[in-house]
């Protein structure tokens, strides 16, 4: 059991670009302390858009925790996102799924990890499932508050955008009709292609059933997307509901770290590694 009071051993962080130009991706590899490396490694698949920005430090803390436990952990940015090359509007779910596969390969190459585990948060969880279904050699997976129903996700985005536009309109005395656009959401372009891909996301389209160990974690009190039934329908699936902060929706100035969830995810993965 990890003792949070113990002084953690230092871990290395190695930022770098990988892939082939012009599709270079940015990644940060968290290396375990010397002599503590285990056989596996973890790729963290982040959310997209504002959820990505808000959850960024929480995923950094998760990566540090996993590396402290002996697992080389790679955080990376999808094409057109974060520091990676390209424009957001030129990319979508298909490219981002390929990026997950590329990240898994790079993790193995740079760290020597023999097994790759994926941890996906929100849309990143859907991308992790798609990457596994596409043949990425994934030994296990954690889905953290996964987006399984793209239609509902789009509704939530549209609702957030509309509330923002109403507030902005009151600030600069412009009408909602003047400001609202179906092609952007909270600072990011929402192209018709991406909209169509998201609308098509469902448990049925997210690929073949996953037989390796899988943990689905939810920080919500309710379950409108059927996360629990999806989790339990998987051969190696487990489900846990944890009362904790939701870093992907917290206000930017707050940065509340979901310590309980991070510790549980790390403990679950580490227990399955020799």
């Amino acid at each position: 059991m990890h003792n949070p009071e113990a002084t953690p051993p230092p871990t290395d962080i190695d930022p770098f670009f990988f892939g082939a130009a012009p599709r270079l991706l940015y990644g940060c590899l968290h290396r375990p302390p010397a002599g503590a490396a285990r056989e596996g490694g973890v790729v963290i698949c982040s959310p997209v858009g504002q959820e990505y920005v808000r959850a960024h430090r929480a995923l950094y803390q998760l990566a540090v925790r996993l590396a402290q436990g002996g697992l080389a952990t790679l955080r990376f940015d999808y094409s057109g996102c974060g520091d990676s090359m390209g424009m957001f509007e030129d990319n979508g779910l298909d490219q981002w799924t390929e990026d997950v596969q590329a990240a898994a390969g790079v993790l193995q190459f740079r760290s020597g990890a023999r097994q790759v585990w994926l941890v996906g948060l929100r849309l990143g969880a859907a991308l992790a499932l798609q990457a596994a279904a596409a043949g990425a050699p994934v030994a296990g997976m954690v889905l953290w508050e996964p987006v399984l129903r793209g239609g509902r996700y789009l509704e939530q985005l549209a609702d957030t955008q509309r509330r923002f536009i109403v507030w902005l309109g009151s600030l600069c005395h412009r009408s909602v009709n003047e400001l609202i656009s179906s092609e952007e959401v909270m600072g990011y372009p929402l192209t018709p292609t991406l909209h169509r891909q998201l609308a098509g996301l469902s448990p049925e389209t997210l690929g073949r059933p996953f037989t390796a160990p899988m943990l689905t974690v939810s920080n919500s009190n309710d379950d409108p997307d059927g996360l629990e039934s999806f989790a339990r329908s998987q051969a190696g699936g487990e489900f846990e509901r944890l009362a904790d902060h939701k870093p992907w929706i917290e206000e930017l100035y707050k940065r509340l770290i979901p310590v309980t969830t991070i510790e549980r995810i790390a403990e679950w993965i580490l227990r399955r590694h020799p």
């Binding site: 430090r57 520091d83 400001l179 656009s181 952007e184 909270m186 600072g187």
Partner: protein, 284 residues
């Protein structure tokens, strides 16, 4: 344009991305280096990826640009000493300038930041004479009573006054009348007796601001201040710094401009495009 990820700082614990032209100028040190400073807790890509777009546009213009994370933010590790965060950010900005000086031979710098990043940019410009220009976007104001009252009056004047629900609350006695009266009284006093009203702002805040602006003028440091809708920085500086602020603008040391319809983090795509155009034109 090419980008390199690097570790910088005395402890090599700060993570940054260096962006530069693929065909560097014959004398790269002829242009100042550009540093993009964290907007609060948002990591080095900036709000809505603005710093990424800005860095790449400036690199295409021939500038060397570094966006990086202060300790404890983004990809950077935590700081190991007890230096207060306001001081550590200025210190780390200077370390980043040292890095570019060593690696690229740059000796002059332009600092840019949004919100708290703008505050750090102005403080670092005062602390380090290598800074020749700074771009302050929606600079964060001190947490004083004056600023709080300005915000409240601005909210009532720009938003609540036009909101039917606010009027309903007023008529149904659901508003705080004492609060409203205090705010109105303060606002009237501020307009009729500005010097008197300035007494409610801590003197050290006023003196620090005035001294900083004097230093920047003496060094011929040029500043571009960009304000979105609802930002109170221009009004605040006008009131607290006094006529000296307008003089700095008249003499070209400070340039101020407004973003048409943007929030604090410049979220609408049209505002982002406008911001990038304003900054790249001013720098060129």
């Amino acid at each position: 344009m090419k980008e390199t990820a690097l570790l910088l700082g005395r402890d090599r614990s700060l993570v940054g991305i260096l962006t530069e032209s693929r065909s560097p100028a014959a004398e790269p040190a002829a242009r100042p280096g550009v540093l993009l400073l964290n907007a609060g807790l948002v990591h080095h890509i900036g709000p809505n990826r603005l710093y990424v777009h800005l860095a790449r546009r400036l690199a295409d213009m021939g500038y060397v640009v570094l966006r990086f994370d202060f300790s404890g933010i983004g990809d950077s590790g935590p700081r190991r000493d007890m230096l207060p965060v306001a001081q550590s950010m200025v210190d780390e900005t200077r370390q980043a300038m040292d890095c570019l000086e060593q690696v690229k031979g740059l000796r002059e710098f332009i600092l840019m930041g949004i919100c708290a990043g703008a505050g750090v940019a102005s403080q670092a410009a005062v602390a380090d004479d290598r800074v020749t220009r700074a771009v302050l976007i929606n600079p964060m104001l001190p947490g004083t009573r004056r600023v709080e009252r300005m915000r409240r009056f601005h909210y009532y004047r720009r938003q609540a006054l036009f909101n039917p629900r606010s009027w309903m609350r007023l008529l149904l006695m659901q508003s705080s009348y004492r609060d409203l009266w205090r705010m109105l009284r303060y606002e009237i006093g501020r307009r009729l007796f500005p010097e008197e009203a300035l007494r409610d702002e801590p003197s050290q805040v006023i003196e620090h601001l005035r001294a900083s602006f004097r230093t920047l003028k003496e060094r011929d440091t040029r500043m571009l201040l960009i304000f979105a809708a609802g930002e109170l920085g221009d009004q605040y500086f006008n009131e607290v710094v006094g006529p000296e602020y307008q003089t700095l603008k008249d003499q070209g040391y400070f340039t101020t401009t407004q973003l048409a319809c943007a929030d604090h983090l410049v979220t609408p795509l049209a505002s982002q495009a406008q911001l990038l155009d304003i900054v790249t034109r001013w720098v060129a």
